[in-house]
């Protein structure tokens, strides 16, 4: 390991601009002649649009244009798409309703985009938007995923009973048979609470049309600008890809919510042509973010686990209702299916599993991938029921897990996944030690003396990320391939530019990707720059989500570096008058075996560009290579998290007093950054478990948690410092042996926290978030019983 190579705690290269206020986020960019957009949004959960009268608004000061679905139809701009086809178990394709970029005839959730006002200033656009008169015919609505299928509300004509699909996985007959032989069956009903992602940078877009070249540019807060360009070009039909540039500059957090193609960005770039090519900027107010960013989770699940007398799991049955919101967002359909039910085996050797998922429309904001996407939901079901089963069977929860761990690899689960490597017991042992599990009873007694209830909870999670072989996901319904591309440009002086299709919005790629280059080429880290986020610069890319940038994105870079090395060896051989087979490359220096001849990497780069010393018919001048990497399997990070809480019996306040995370991410490029990813993920999971929950009012359909006044974001005093540990089994499916680390914290932690809270209270279940009020309510029956 060099000081800046793989495994080094290199300080982030990108930090300089962020700590000095020189980051360049979309809203920081202002284009000449820029106008501002403000969206007219539905105040109703469900209503027909009888008419839209823009006459008064059009006369307001500064108004440049007002557009509605009529204008969208005139220009034949297509609707938003869902890029993953799911078939129901009866073989029928999912039943998706249209998702126009400006509502056509009907609105389906509070915040649905109805019209856009473009004006000279933000304030003028907002004032005029308030003057747009929309006449609504209010319809009955349903916001509750548990009630949508049986309600009389019809959200889309295409989906009777509001059901998009009824999908299943696993062997139902075999699972039912396993239950018949069970000595013990544990049953549980769980709600995975709806969350609002809340990246700190609100979504924003600037659309600009150049009348001279008939070319569009879109600056947008995206995790995957190339995918945005592909969709806006191919499905919205705005312009062919070579006439559309999408730039995602610095992006202030994504967590999934900036993967998707949203109406606002399409409207801004489309409408710019309508106003003669003046740029249009839109920046979400936080309230708009709450209303219109794709939300996460929102599952209602019934699960049953069958055990033999010794606690060995025999079978697992799961039935889930998953909210889709009012429209299918870009990847909504794959989240509660292939990203969820395929992980229901957890870390356990379970002979038979059967799961059924209903995807359901509700009159709420669309639901799509949010940090972990399906895998936190799966982990929650598995780890809550496993912990409950252990309690019911009077087995130590650690011991129960130990009895059921998968111990040999590769392991084919009954739900598609083939786990390639892992050592779950190693993580458990390390976590028990870090958490001082043995000392827990004494700590519990000490808490009790102070009027506090102490509990401990486990979560032994596994996730699949670095998604995945394109052919495999294609066969499961994905509309795109899930490879990644990279280009390595070596400049004549030996400095290196990496062009990557991955997108960094907090992950630190400018540092970790450069570390890979340092390791491979032996160049100074200051001589490496990472270029991303611009479709005019980077040839193509699938972007960053699903913890894929290391395992997939860096592997693409690694492959391109292989080619660079091979080419450079040829050049070096020619210059040093040796055979390429005799040239060795180590620590940035090319040597010829058995001689003292050597050339530094930079010298070879220069030689490649001046091209004086080799025959250009045999070796092309220059040193630039590209690669596409399509993974052969998912990667499977796994680990054990242990959470310890103290509950104030008087108030119901739960405090996380100790949190241990032991993770196996395979090879780690930069431990400092990986630890940061784990910290952030855990905090989000603690947020889900204890503080966060999106609430729509059943009666009015209004979003009650529409600002930080009511949506409880975890703050610094809601979380403790975390104790981290790592184990390592290398991932066999990529040359670096990497797994993914971006989502693990958010996947593991809700179950660990809720297992701890239920342990403290001595209750079977508690809804998330376990807010003070929720906990207090749960304690009332116990107090009454005690009286």
């Amino acid at each position: 390991m060099t000081e800046t190579g793989i495994g080094a705690r290199v300080k982030r290269k990108e930090d300089q601009r962020f700590i000095t206020g020189k980051g360049r986020y979309t809203d920081d960019i202002n284009l000449k002649g820029q106008t501002y957009a403000y969206f007219v949004r539905s105040p109703h959960a469900h209503a027909t649009i009888k008419s839209i009268n823009t006459a008064k608004a059009a006369k307001m000061p500064g108004v440049v244009g007002i557009f509605t679905s009529k204008d969208v139809a005139e220009d034949k701009i297509g609707g938003l798409i869902c890029g993953w086809m799911i078939h129901s178990k009866d073989g029928s394709p999912m039943k998706a309703g249209p998702h126009p970029i400006l509502a056509q005839g009907k609105v389906r959730y509070v915040g649905d985009h109805v019209a856009v006002v473009v004006a000279e200033t933000k304030d003028q656009a907002k004032a005029a938007a308030a003057a747009v008169n929309v006449s609504y015919g209010v319809l009955p609505h349903v916001v509750d995923v548990g009630k949508s299928m049986t309600s009389k509300v019809q959200i889309h004509d295409a989906a009777p009973d509001n059901r998009v699909f009824n999908w299943s996985i696993g062997d139902q007959a075999a699972t039912d048979a396993a239950f018949k032989t069970a000595a013990h069956v544990t049953k549980i009903d769980l709600v995975n609470n709806r969350l609002i992602p809340n990246a700190m940078e609100p979504r924003a877009a600037i659309g600009s049309y150049d009348t001279g070249s008939d070319h569009y540019t879109l600056y947008t807060t995206s995790q995957n600008p190339h995918v945005a360009r592909l969709v806006i070009s191919a499905f919205h039909g705005l312009a062919p890809e070579h006439k559309l540039r999408v730039i995602a500059p610095d992006v202030g957090g994504g967590f999934g919510s900036k993967i998707f193609i949203y109406a606002e960005e399409v409207v801004c770039v489309w409408a710019s042509k309508r106003i003669g090519g003046r740029p249009i900027k839109w920046t979400a107010e936080r309230t708009e973010s709450f209303q219109s960013d794709a939300h996460g989770r929102d599952h209602v699940t019934h699960a049953e686990l069958a055990m033999d007398r010794s606690g060995k799991i025999l079978g697992f049955r799961v039935k889930t209702k998953a909210a889709m919101g009012a429209y299918l967002s870009t990847f909504a359909s794959c989240v509660p299916t292939y990203l969820y039910a395929t992980l229901l085996s957890g870390q356990y050797a379970i002979p038979s599993i059967y799961a059924e998922v209903d995807a359901i429309y509700t009159n709420t904001a669309p639901v799509d991938a949010y940090r972990g996407a399906g895998r936190p939901e799966a982990t929650y079901v598995v780890e809550r029921i496993v912990e409950t089963a252990a309690r019911e069977m009077k087995l130590d929860p650690a011991e129960f897990r130990r009895r059921n761990f998968i111990r040999s690899f590769p392991h084919q689960t009954p739900v598609i996944m083939c786990y390639d490597a892992g050592d779950y017991e190693a993580a458990l042992n390390k976590a028990l030690e870090l958490a001082d599990y043995k000392g827990f009873p004494a700590r519990k007694a000490a808490s009790a003396r102070n009027g506090k209830l102490r509990g401990i909870g486990f979560s032994a999670y596994i996730e699949a990320c670095g998604i995945a072989p394109s052919a495999a996901v294609g066969s499961l319904g994905a509309g795109v391939g899930l490879w990644e591309s990279a280009e390595v440009r070596v400049n004549p002086v030996g400095t290196v530019e990496i062009l990557t299709g991955s997108h960094s919005h907090g992950q630190g790629h400018e540092t970790t990707f450069a570390q890979l280059v340092c390791e491979r080429l032996g160049v100074d880290i200051n001589n490496v720059s990472i270029v991303h986020g611009d479709t005019d610069k980077v040839q193509f890319g699938m972007g960053t989500y699903g913890s894929r940038s290391g395992a997939v994105g860096m592997t693409a870079i690694s492959k391109a570096l292989d080619k660079i090395e091979a080419k450079a060896k040829k050049v070096a051989a020619a210059v040093m008058e040796a055979s390429a087979d005799d040239v060795e490359f180590k620590n940035g220096t090319f040597t010829v075996k058995g001689t003292d001849k050597k050339m530094a990497f930079g010298e070879v780069a220069l030689a490649a560009y001046v091209a004086h010393k080799f025959n250009s018919a045999e070796i092309e001048p220059g040193l630039k290579e590209g690669a596409f990497h399509d993974p052969s399997n998912f990667v499977f990070p796994a680990g054990v998290h242990i959470c310890e809480v103290e509950v104030d019996a008087d108030t119901g306040v739960t405090e996380v007093v100790n949190y241990v995370a032991v993770d196996d991410f395979g090879t780690i490029i930069n431990p400092m950054i990986v630890e940061g990813q784990v910290h952030g993920g855990i905090a989000q999971g603690i947020g889900q478990a204890l503080t966060e929950g999106c609430v729509y009012d059943t009666e009015s359909g209004q979003l009650l948690t529409g600002s930080y006044m009511d949506y409880c974001m975890p703050r610094a005093d809601n979380v403790p410092s975390f104790k981290l540990g790592f184990t390592m089994t290398k991932c066999p499916s990529n040359p670096l042996g990497m797994k993914g680390c971006g989502e693990a914290g958010a996947i593991a932690s809700p179950a660990a926290v809720m297992n701890a809270v239920t342990d403290a209270l001595g209750v079977r279940d508690l809804p998330m978030p376990a807010s003070p009020q929720t906990v207090w309510k749960a304690m009332q029956p116990m107090k009454k019983a005690a009286e």
């Binding site: 304030d123 308030a130 009511d710 974001m713 009020q773 207090w776």
Partner: protein
Amino acid sequence: MENFGYHRPAKVADAVKIMKKAKDGKYLSGGMTLLPAIKQGLATPSDVIDLGGIKNAGVSVSAKSVTVKAGTAHGDVAADKGVRKAIPALAVLASSIGDPHVRNRGTIGGSVANNDPAADYPAAVLGLGATVHTSERKIPADKFFTGMFTTALKGNEIVTAVEFPLPAKAGYAKFPNPASRYAMVGVFVAKMKDSAVRVAVTGAGPAVFRIPEMEAALAKDFSAKALAGISVKAKGLNSDMHASAEYRAHLIGVMARRAVAAAK
């Protein structure tokens, strides 16, 4: 946000004059409540009269009282050595308002005049039986807070200071709303020098209110134990997704006990 005329008078009398002329004027002090309200379109004043130009900030402590001028920021009250010695509970309360940045800008005058049901200061004003000094008169706390966001202030009247009598002992305990951190329940208890006890509750009802039953019990025995068995009725208390009226009623009891235990 909607535009408005901005005024920054240097004297109280000038502020009143401008207000009288304004179509729909609003006084602005720290702006911690008014500005978010204007941003959200909940308030659309024609004129905003910024009282920040009236240099009216500072704390004075006498043998009988602590007087906080209306323009004094919460953070300055929290950090004031005189306050911390004379009425530690008042400093504790001020240090629990909002967050450090809010405390650097929000003022006691603005908080008291606005009378947000979840604001902290009203609990101290009522709990200590303070006197609110205005541009026109002096108003005792018991007559000042009249209801949700309403006070005894007349249209143009400006709070100029709040005078808190020194108690023998006082304490404040707050249960913040988990999301907004405003008081979901805040209880201020004070044992006055004449042995009278006052218990004032904020956050739990439409406006700050006293609990005579607790006051009577504490007057006999100023200890947390004395509150055992006194339960607060949920009827009439605020209820929202964060706390039902029942939960708030329960928390009043817990916070009252904690305030008494913390009283200095």
